[in-house]
């Protein structure tokens, strides 16, 4: 059980780092990277629970799906960032605040 705890702690640290990056980074690409960190922390959890929770391979399979989804998300997000750049001549997310007005 101690092994599961250490996995979960690593995953939690990773999640916090990702969240921190998402909240604090102004650069859109960096925000995207933060999201990847969060997804990966989730992956660690899946795999860890699969390994120690006796759930066969479904955790690993789910992790694979998450990786596939992350790839797709990265493609969409990068397209959004390119659009952002075209509209605002910058990829800083805090400059896109038209909604405020």
């Amino acid at each position: 059980m101690e092994q599961l705890n250490s996995y979960l702690i690593v995953a939690a640290i990773l999640f916090c780092l990702g969240l921190f990056a998402v909240i604090t980074r102004r650069n859109g690409v960096a925000v995207l990277m933060g999201i990847e960190l969060i997804l990966n922390s989730a992956n660690i959890n899946f795999v860890a629970f699969a390994r120690f929770g006796g759930m066969n391979f479904s955790g690993q399979v789910f992790a694979l799906f998450v990786i596939i989804m992350a790839a797709a998300e990265a493609a969409v997000a990068l397209a959004i960032i390119i659009n952002l750049y075209q509209n605002f001549k910058s990829i800083n997310v805090d400059e896109a605040q038209q909604l405020q007005r």
Binding site: V22, I23, T24, V93, A96, Q97, Q98, L99, Q100
Partner: protein, 684 residues
Amino acid sequence: MNIFIQYALVIYLLPLAAFGIQIFLGKRLPRQGDWVSIGAVLTTLILALAMFAGMLLNYNPDFETRAAFTWIDQGAFQIRMGFLIDNITIIMLLVVALISSMSHIYSLKYMAGDPRYSRYYAFLSLFTFSMNGIILADNLVLLYMSWELVGLSSYLLIGFWFEKDSAANAGKKAFLTNRVGDIGFFIGILIFFTAIGSFSYGDIFAGVAAGKLTGTLLTLGGVGLFMGAVGKSAQFPLHIWLPDAMEGPTPVSALIHAATMVAAGVYMMVRLFGLMTHDTLLLVAYIGGFTAFFAATIAITRNDIKQVLAYSTVSQLGYMILSVGTGAYVAAFFHLLTHAMFKANLFYGAGSVIHSMHHALHKKKDHETDPQDMRNMGGFKSKMPITYWSMMASTLAISGVPLFSGFLSKDAILAGTLSFAGKYPQHFLLPVFGFGAALITAFYMFRLMYMTFHNQPRRPDIYREIKESPREMVFPLVLLATLCLFIFYTLPNVNPLSDEGWFSTLIVARDSVVPVEMGPVIASEIEEGMHHSHYPAMGISIVMVALGILLAWLMYLKRRLSPAAWADKLKPLYRLSAGKYFVDEIYAKYLYRPVLGLADRIGYLDWDLYDKYFINGFGRVTTWLSTLSGKLDYDGLDQGIIDGIGRVIRYFGAILRGLQTGRLQSYLLFALLGIIIILVFQTI
């Protein structure tokens, strides 16, 4: 429903239907729809004749049939409507149907070319309908309703030529004067209703007989009913409307103001005779007797041919009322019957003369000369023989010359009056009035005939153009003149000195139902008295009539006595008569003007004090208050509270707006904080 009721229903409703058609469609129908009204009224005449024949076949003095339905039912309070048909009803229906038919036919020519020809016929039908209602009613409600309808149609017909101020005013005067009487009538009806609780004649008679209503109240109730008759039958002091009503078309005068409407009062008194106490009847007798004499004296000095007839009508109605008052109410009804015939005929005759005068004047383009003034006439006898002879027959009848109908009825009335005075010598004035009026009647009627038809023409220029009237106008004259002969009223007897016959057999007097202490009239006593004074009354009246005719003959035909000289000799009397006893002037001075003055005062109170200060004051206070409340509303409520809420919301909005940064990351941060708070709370 027996056949009489069915006939009566048709007679009642047909003129109403004719009125409805005429008033709405009259103008669009061919001949302006006169055939609708005439057809309706002729049908009623046929039905009335059938009923009359039925009555003669029955030959039953006690014949009576009723039909009624509950009109208003409120539990304890019920009003029943219905017809009461007895011999009196049938005879009266026939009189109205006959005179009405004659008027309709007569008007074909008399009213030809009038711009409101169809409306005229509509009104005639309405009148016939209302009059039949009075006749057929078996309860005071229907009687009163029809009574007022008669007043209305009379108003419409008198004021038919309302372009003339005088006609419009005459209509108004007739209506208002009648109203005075009707108030009394209404009070009378209510007295009987409160005491007995029913409007039906049968219940009322039974109630009075049972002593439910006695004493002064019964007398007052009778007086109330009589007031209605005073108004409608133009008795002193409410007679003033009838002479003015001559402004209406002449056939209307004949129909309404000679034969039917004015007879309604007498008819009502005859119907309700049994409810009259001795005191009531005494008042009735004095009013009637006085009116008979008083109106006759006015008629002497009238120069307008229709005015003579108008006052003569008032006087003759006075006779009938006098007769009711003396208890001989069958004689009153008999006189009503004969009077309807000869007076209608006299009016038709006068109308014929006026019509002819109109044409003559029209031809000469003379619009100044009065076509009704007898001073412009004279010598028309040879030009208008039919009119002359038929009018002569009626004149003989109204004067009371033997062999004519008026002789019989007037004699019966005078006999009744004489026997009444024999019984109560202190009332000697009544026969004096009666016989005096008989003398004067003969005098003024022959004066009218001599001035109109005899002597040299006073205006030869007009005389040349005078022609006999057309067939439609002459036919009623001839028919009614024939009915002035006594024989129609005494069949199967042919004794010209006695009124024994179908009428006296079929119409029998009944005892009145009032309690003994109120002095009920016992029919047999009255009959006995009349029988005894029959010949003395006849003798005196023949002498009186002869005297009257002789006087007229001397003054206006032979010119032995000069009317002008006599007028001079009796100057005060002459002036009283010529001024109609100044009744109108007295009313104007002591009644109208004080009332108008009072109205002015009250008007001042109302307009200048009440309205100006109170009502306008209200307005001003209201304006002031609403300005104030407006201020409170706009400046206080709206500006302060309503706008205040808005401002507060805007203020907080401006603050909270800061939260909405539009930065994704800050939203995410808030979400994160939210989740943390939730988690923290969950663990706690």
